[in-house]
């Protein structure tokens, strides 16, 4: 199953990247493919291409602020969580996404 995600938090120097790392780590363990875009103090990094978004089975937002360039995700099924949840319970999040999209 292919997933894409965006992480972002108010200061953008810690949680954004921890959540990204955690999602990547746990997804790999669970056998998913995932690409995580970070929107932090460094600006947008590892930016998602429109093709990648289109191909993804679902979009995960792990955010504490508004996502930038939201138009890219129009029409996609979006699962939104807090950054904290992504860091603390990445496995539960991914399981929930998996169940809902029936993957």
């Amino acid at each position: 199953m292919k997933l894409v995600a965006v992480t972002a938090c108010p200061t953008g120097i810690a949680h954004t990247y921890m959540a990204a790392e955690q999602l990547e780590r746990v997804a790999k363990k669970m056998g998913f493919s995932i690409k995580v875009e970070t929107q932090g103090a460094m600006g947008i990094e590892n930016e998602l291409e429109q093709d990648e978004i289109n191909e993804a089975a679902a979009v995960i937002f792990a955010v504490g602020i508004t996502v930038q360039k939201p138009e890219r995700f129009e029409g996609k099924k979006i699962f939104e969580f807090s950054v904290q949840e992504a860091i603390k319970n990445a496995e539960a999040i991914l399981n929930k996404v998996k169940e809902e999209i029936g993957g």
């Binding site: 108010p10 200061t11 949680h15 990247y17 921890m18 790392e21 955690q22 103090a41």
Partner: protein
């Protein structure tokens, strides 16, 4: 026929009490009438009365018409105009060193614990702890209605009574003056001049005569009327002067036998925190110094004289605390946090501990500053650069030595002349310079001879009006005409030089022949002294200011004539770029890193050095520690600054290597713009000087902190101690603000408090391990035993250093990395681990 002129009022705070009293002073001896008319407010005043002037509500930029009529009206009008435009703004600038009002900062300990506290504005630094004494709110003068209409049938007698009361009050203040010094003295003096204000006195006497009022009733009426006018002013500073007026009025009323019951609330039996709506200056002075621990005021303004005195005494104070008198009870224990602007009521154990730690931190930080001050003026690779202080008055010497000055790089003697009706005699000057030489105890002191003219008009030297005084008759250029002024000063310096190590320096030299003339005169003065049998030092080192570009270009020809040069950067910059430094429209020419200016300095310094002469810098730029590498690279031998900057400049200097600085300067000389050089300097700091993200002094391995508040406080103190943040209170508050968005506990026993704040100087990482896990007050949170604190300066652009923080954040997700941080045995190991992760 009256003489008149119009002026645009120049002072930023408008025409308030201090300048009004200066104007009164200037005008009072003129035999004739002087009317001040504000064209905006349409109000007229007698310029001989400070209070009357205040009621014109004159703001900066108001067009005022001044009418002088009487003997010599034209001459006096010209004199007054020059006084108002030149001398008055200078006096104001000197007097205005009041910090702007700041908003309250909530101390971390108040987050998440149940304490009662009140918020105001920080008004005087420090923390006080003690019992509150709430002073009864006093009736305003205008509320003394029963007095206002009180009639008297014998006006002559009432006037007599009133004059007696005035006389006795003046005597009383005179006595108090003898016991006071510094700020307190000058405030009492202002009160004394209020008590002699002819406008006020005339008004009172008029009311007695015309309306048959009693002296007390007339006084209350007059003061109420004046107060009302003052309160209508747009300038806060003027509104805040009502307290001074009321103070004097109250004391007068007492003398008139109308005790206002005011003093009753003022009995304090043990050292206490005073809580009041406002405290009049005389009330403040009425307490023994040890009786007051701190002040909590409802509405004293930041510029109120009571607060100025509190700062002078180092008494913590918070003002702007709404309803303080109602909310606080006498006998209640309170903490007054004058650093943050907060008052805590009946503080608990947590608060007590918090402030104990603050006090300890304060002691260490003072020690660090002292250590920096004690550093030698030398680069890391051993080049000696003398770090000196600029002074304007011998009283500043003590602080200069405390701040670590190794010398005085410039003693601006003309400041001694301000406010003096006559020039000081040679003897007077000799005693003063002798005292300076002796107090310096062998440290060199450069005495710069009078630099009068330009922006520095002096009342006792009447210079002609010039269209362009900065390019005109100033500095040594006036010495031929005002020969006696020059002669007496140089003779005094020569005579005093033997009592220490004095050096002589001349301002505004542009031509070699000027130096030759000056030296010839010095020789003549020496011969005179010899003939008169007066002792003097024949071989005084003599130098010139380098503030006119011609001297820089011809430095090799000047060098044989002098012993040293000292760059006056303020004037040099304005002469070099042809841009008036006081004119905001051309302020952008103030570019210390402009390559043209740097080339000019390089030429001058190299030519001086080739001829064996040394070069100092005594302008404002010398105190900017960011520029120190440039000054070292250019080859300056001495840096002289306001002494407050010395510890920081010394600390920077001790880290520099001359070779690196020279390399930097070589690059800056090739640039086209100041902006390019800003970038070069920034890169230099990145390369050479910017500290690592984490250093061992940011690592605390075994902390006993028992609460989140304690942890954040400890981190804030640690970061300030390590020089990473400017103000720990602001940093602590920024960390808390982030915690309030969402707590930064992220599971795994780990919390990552962080912030981006202007008080952070350089991107930094701190780490703290806790002996006992601590609750982080987060929802469903687990206790935390590992804390990693990230700090970023605000407005920080994307820089290599900053990109390391996300890298570290990612690594922290991995258990092995966290474990290794938990197991590291020394701060050095932690630093190495974090470096390996980033």
């Amino acid at each position: 026929m009256a003489a008149e002129f119009r002026l645009e009022f120049p002072l930023p705070l408008g025409l308030h009490a201090r300048p009004a009293s200066f104007i009164q002073e200037k005008c009072q001896d003129y035999k004739g009438e002087i009317i001040w008319e504000n064209q905006r407010t349409q109000k007229k005043a007698d310029a001989k009365s400070a209070i009357s002037l205040l009621t014109t509500d004159t703001q900066k930029g108001d067009i005022c018409r001044v009418l002088v009529s009487g003997t010599g009206e034209k001459k006096f009008a010209a004199e007054l105009e020059s006084f108002l435009l030149k001398e008055l703004p200078l006096k104001e600038e000197q007097a205005l060193k009041v910090e702007p009002a700041a908003a309250a900062i909530i101390p971390g300990v108040l987050h998440g614990c149940q304490e009662m506290f009140l918020v105001g504005q920080p008004a005087s630094q420090g923390v006080a702890w003690g019992k509150a004494v709430v002073l009864k709110k006093q009736p305003g003068l205008s509320e003394l209605k029963e007095l206002m209409g009180k009639q008297a049938d014998n006006p002559e007698k009432e006037i007599e009574v009133f004059r007696q009361a005035l006389g006795s009050l003046r005597e009383e203040i005179e006595k108090e003056l003898a016991e006071k010094s510094g700020v307190e003295k000058s405030i009492l003096k202002a009160h004394q001049s209020l008590a002699s204000d002819p406008g006020l006195l005339r008004r009172v006497e008029e009311l007695i005569e015309r309306e048959k009022l009693s002296a007390a009733a007339a006084l209350v009426r007059a003061v109420s009327d004046f107060s009302e006018e003052l309160l209508r002013s747009k300038t806060q500073y003027i509104r805040e002067r009502v307290a001074d007026l009321n103070d004097v009025a109250r004391r007068l009323l007492e003398k008139l036998g109308c005790a206002l019951d005011a003093k009753k609330g003022l009995e304090v039996t043990e050292p206490s925190v005073l809580v009041a709506e406002d405290l009049l200056p005389s009330e403040f002075l009425g307490f023994q110094p040890g009786q007051i621990l701190g002040l909590v005021l409802e509405k004293a303004g930041q510029t109120s004289h009571t607060l100025i005195m509190a700062r002078g005494r180092g008494l913590p104070a918070v003002t702007g605390v709404a309803e303080a008198c109602r909310l606080l009870g006498s006998g209640e224990e309170v903490v007054v946090d004058g650093n943050r602007g907060v008052v805590i009521i009946s503080p608990g154990e947590e608060v007590r501990k918090y402030y104990e730690r603050e006090r300890e931190a304060e002691v260490t930080l003072k020690k660090i500053r002292k250590e920096k001050a004690a550093l030698p003026g030398v680069t890391a690779d051993g080049k000696r650069i003398e770090v000196a202080a600029n002074i304007g008055h011998p009283e500043e010497l003590q602080k200069a030595w405390e701040d670590g000055a190794e010398a005085v790089g410039i003693f601006r003697t003309e400041l001694l002349l301000y406010g003096k009706p006559a020039l000081p005699s040679e003897e007077e000057q000799f005693l003063l310079y002798k005292r300076v030489a002796e107090e310096a105890g062998g440290r060199p002191v450069i005495i710069r001879t009078f630099d009068i003219g330009g922006d520095k008009p002096i009342p006792c030297v009447k210079l002609p009006q010039e269209p362009n005084p900065f390019l005109g008759y100033r500095g040594i250029r006036i010495y031929r005409e005002y020969y006696e002024l020059f002669r007496s000063q140089v003779r005094a310096i020569l005579r005093a030089a033997g009592y220490g190590k004095l050096r002589l320096m001349f301002p505004m030299v542009a031509l070699v022949e000027e130096v030759r003339w000056l030296k010839d005169q010095v020789k003549i003065f020496e011969q005179e002294l010899e003939r008169e049998g007066l002792a003097f030092s024949p071989e005084i080192e003599t130098g010139i200011m380098l503030e006119i570009p011609s001297v820089a270009m011809l430095a090799d020809k000047f060098a044989p004539e002098v012993d040293f040069f000292s760059v006056g950067s303020n004037d040099l910059v304005q002469y070099f770029f042809a841009a008036d430094r006081g004119n905001p429209l051309v302020k952008y020419f103030n570019q210390p890193l402009n390559p043209a200016l740097l080339r000019l300095l390089k030429i001058a310094i190299d030519r001086a050095h080739e001829n064996g002469k040394w070069v100092g810098l005594c302008g404002e730029l010398a105190g900017d520690s960011r520029l120190t590498p440039v000054f070292v690279g250019l080859g300056f031998d001495e840096l002289s600054m306001s002494s407050g900057f010395i510890p920081e400049v010394k600390a920077v200097l001790n880290h520099l290597r001359v070779g690196d600085c020279q390399e930097l300067v070589a690059q800056t000389l090739e640039a086209s713009t100041a902006e390019e050089n800003e970038k070069l300097l920034e890169d230099y700091y990145q390369r050479q000087f910017s500290p690592e993200l984490i250093t061992p002094d940011l690592v605390i391995l075994e902390s006993d902190c028992g609460s989140k508040a304690e942890i954040l406080q400890e981190l804030a103190i640690t970061f300030e101690r390590a020089g990473r943040v400017g103000n720990r209170a602001v940093f602590e508050q920024a960390l808390w603000k982030r915690e309030q968005d969402v707590a930064t506990e992220i599971g795994f026993g780990l919390a990552i408090p962080h912030c981006q704040s202007g008080t952070v100087r350089t991107p930094s990482i701190g780490l703290m391990r806790l002996r006992k896990p601590v609750d982080w007050q987060s929802k469903e949170g687990q206790p935390v035993d590992l804390v990693i604190c990230l700090a970023i300066p605000s407005g920080e652009k994307v820089r290599p250093k900053l990109q390391l923080l996300p890298k570290l954040s990612r690594r922290l997700i991995h258990e092995e990395f966290r474990d290794s941080l938990r197991q590291a045995t020394t701060p050095g190991d932690v630093v190495a681990l974090i470096k390996s992760a980033t």
